[in-house]
């Protein structure tokens, strides 16, 4: 049976809290290392598992190589050593089961919103009317109905990232990779995004890998956090915030479990700063 279909029928927030062993990992990172041409060692033997249907965050200080790891998982840059398995198959390049959301949105300024959202489908040769219908659905899904014929420069930063998100959803990939997607939007929009992201994880039945440098954001949205150390980066801790997310999203930010996890991670990270 297709595991992702099973997940979709049953919102996974109702699952019992994660036990010590995660469910079936959708993405597996096995002793990945990356050394750049200049001899800079960015990642050193990282191994991680990303459970299916969950949101896993790579958290770490600026320049720790978390974006590098995400792009290696995406197949955008090659690793120097180790391997990445997605759904049991080794990654050699980008694939249709993964979709990427970019930090700087990466929207084509010459193309309208709908063409940007449908771009992944356009590249796959989906017929024009069909891909526009799919794109329209996802534009509505991210709350941009009515903006289909606008151009990126006519949208605010937050709306642009919604376009980037709709584009990633439109190709219906199993894994959505998000590279600091909310770092270029203002704080209010950011909080709104975080709440919507929780809803997305709960209802879409997709697996999310999320990169951020914000501790609060990581704890708020994640089922599982991989804390990365400074360069050369290793996994210094795996944290699974056991936060009850039902009901008022604002409540979570005052929830004592939430605040405790944030504090604990901060204590872990602060000694890197010294």
């Amino acid at each position: 049976m297709n595991p992702s279909a099973a997940m979709a029928s049953q919102p996974n927030r109702d699952l019992p809290p994660l036990p010590g062993r995660a469910p079936q990992p959708i993405v597996e990172v096995r002793s990945i290392s990356k050394t750049y041409a200049g001899g800079i060692e960015a990642l050193s033997g990282i191994s991680l598992e990303f459970p299916e249907g969950r949101l896993t965050t790579l958290l770490g200080p600026s320049g720790c190589g978390k974006t590098t790891l995400l792009k290696i998982i995406a197949g955008l840059i090659p690793a120097t050593g180790g391997q990445v398995l997605v759904d049991g198959r080794e990654v050699t390049g980008p694939g249709p089961e993964r979709a990427f959301v970019f930090q700087d949105f990466a929207l084509m300024p010459w193309a309208s919103v709908i063409r940007n959202v449908a771009f992944g489908l356009e590249l796959r040769g989906v017929a024009h009317s069909e891909r526009e219908a799919i794109a329209e659905r996802h534009i509505a899904r991210v709350g941009l109905k009515g903006f289909e014929r606008k151009y990126p420069h006519e949208l605010s930063g937050g709306m642009r990232q919604r376009v980037g998100l709709a584009r990633a959803l439109a190709v219906d990939a199993k894994v959505v990779l998000m590279d600091e997607p909310f770092s270029a939007v203002d704080e209010q929009t950011r909080r709104k995004f975080q709440e919507e992201l929780l809803e997305l994880v709960a209802n879409e039945g997709k697996s999310f890998i999320f990169v951020t440098h914000s501790i609060e954001e990581a704890v708020y949205v994640s089922d599982r956090i991989a804390l990365l150390s400074r360069r050369p980066s290793r996994v210094s801790a795996i944290i699974e915030p056991q936060i009850q997310r039902g009901g008022d999203p604002e409540k979570i930010r005052r929830d004592s479990a939430y605040l405790d996890v944030v504090e604990a991670i901060w204590q872990q990270l602060r000694h890197y700063l010294d």
Partner: protein, 272 residues
């Protein structure tokens, strides 16, 4: 910041009259008209002093313009001048963009060809005109070649730079959504490069006009170059100035038109 505060100056009717006059005076359109009027008035005045017997007034120049327009000289001259210009410019644009794109996508060709164009861009290529005349005679070919050597380097180098400067995140976006090489060239690299390619085309056009006039003045007097040098030799300065004025206005309008076409066709983000 000041500009945006001043732009809606006209409808500010409730304010004091003095303020209103001031706002009207510094309105962009008013200032532009004022600027042109001032320069033309200065020209008229300098011509009347007279600054030099070879400096006709603006009105005399307009008269000269009327004369060469009325007897059809100007129209015929433009047709002749446009001939090498259009051929040379078309060739330069087609070859220049093709070569620039090739160099931008294929590193060995960049290594081989770029140094030539880098030097050509900095060098006074006009000095090649006598050699082109030796090689191709005094006919159309030499003039077309002149236009090409003037216009091509800037078109090639801008295209190369444009292709090279495709935003990295757009390229990554393309490959993460599984674009093939040809899709990524067609759908990402070329559209992203088009503003800078067009900037190169505008510069190339300006250089092509310089080239064609130079060719007509140096190789053999034809077209506008002939009208300029003939009227210079018979000291009919109003007509000479009128011919120069007309080709300058024509080239500026031509380049302006190119920019309009670019914005309407390719640049949604630059449309008002």
């Amino acid at each position: 910041m000041q500009i945006s505060e001043l732009a809606p100056a006209l409808p500010a009717l409730r304010e004091a009259p003095a303020r209103r006059w001031r706002d009207l005076l510094i309105h962009p359109l008013v200032l532009r008209l004022l600027s042109f009027a001032a320069v033309l008035a200065l020209w008229e005045y300098a011509g009347r002093i007279p600054l030099s017997p070879a400096f006709p007034t603006f009105l005399e120049t307009l008269g000269g313009l009327g004369a060469i327009m009325a007897d059809g000289t100007l129209f015929k001259a433009f047709l002749i001048t446009l001939h090498p210009l259009v051929i040379g410019l078309t060739a330069s644009i087609l070859c220049g963009i093709a070569l620039g794109v090739l160099m931008g996508l294929h590193e060995p060709s960049e290594w081989l060809f770029a140094p030539i164009f880098v030097i050509a861009q900095a060098a006074p290529l006009a000095a090649l005109i006598p050699i082109l005349t030796f090689a191709y005679g005094i006919g159309l070919t030499a003039k077309v070649m002149t236009v090409c050597i003037m216009a091509m380097p800037v078109i090639v180098l801008n295209t190369l730079g444009a292709v090279r400067n495709t935003p990295k995140s757009l390229l990554e976006m393309g490959s993460s959504f599984l674009a093939t090489r040809s899709q990524s060239i067609r759908l990402i690299i070329l559209p992203a490069a088009s503003p800078m390619i067009f900037a190169g085309l505008r510069l190339g056009c300006a250089a092509a006009f310089i080239g064609v006039i130079l060719a007509e003045l140096l190789i053999t007097p034809t077209g506008i170059g002939d009208v300029i040098s003939y009227n210079q030799s018979v000291a009919d300065y109003p007509k000479m100035y009128a011919a120069i004025l007309s080709i300058i206005v024509f080239s500026v309008l031509f380049i302006e038109l190119l920019e309009r076409i670019e914005v309407t066709l390719f640049r949604p983000e630059a449309r008002p």
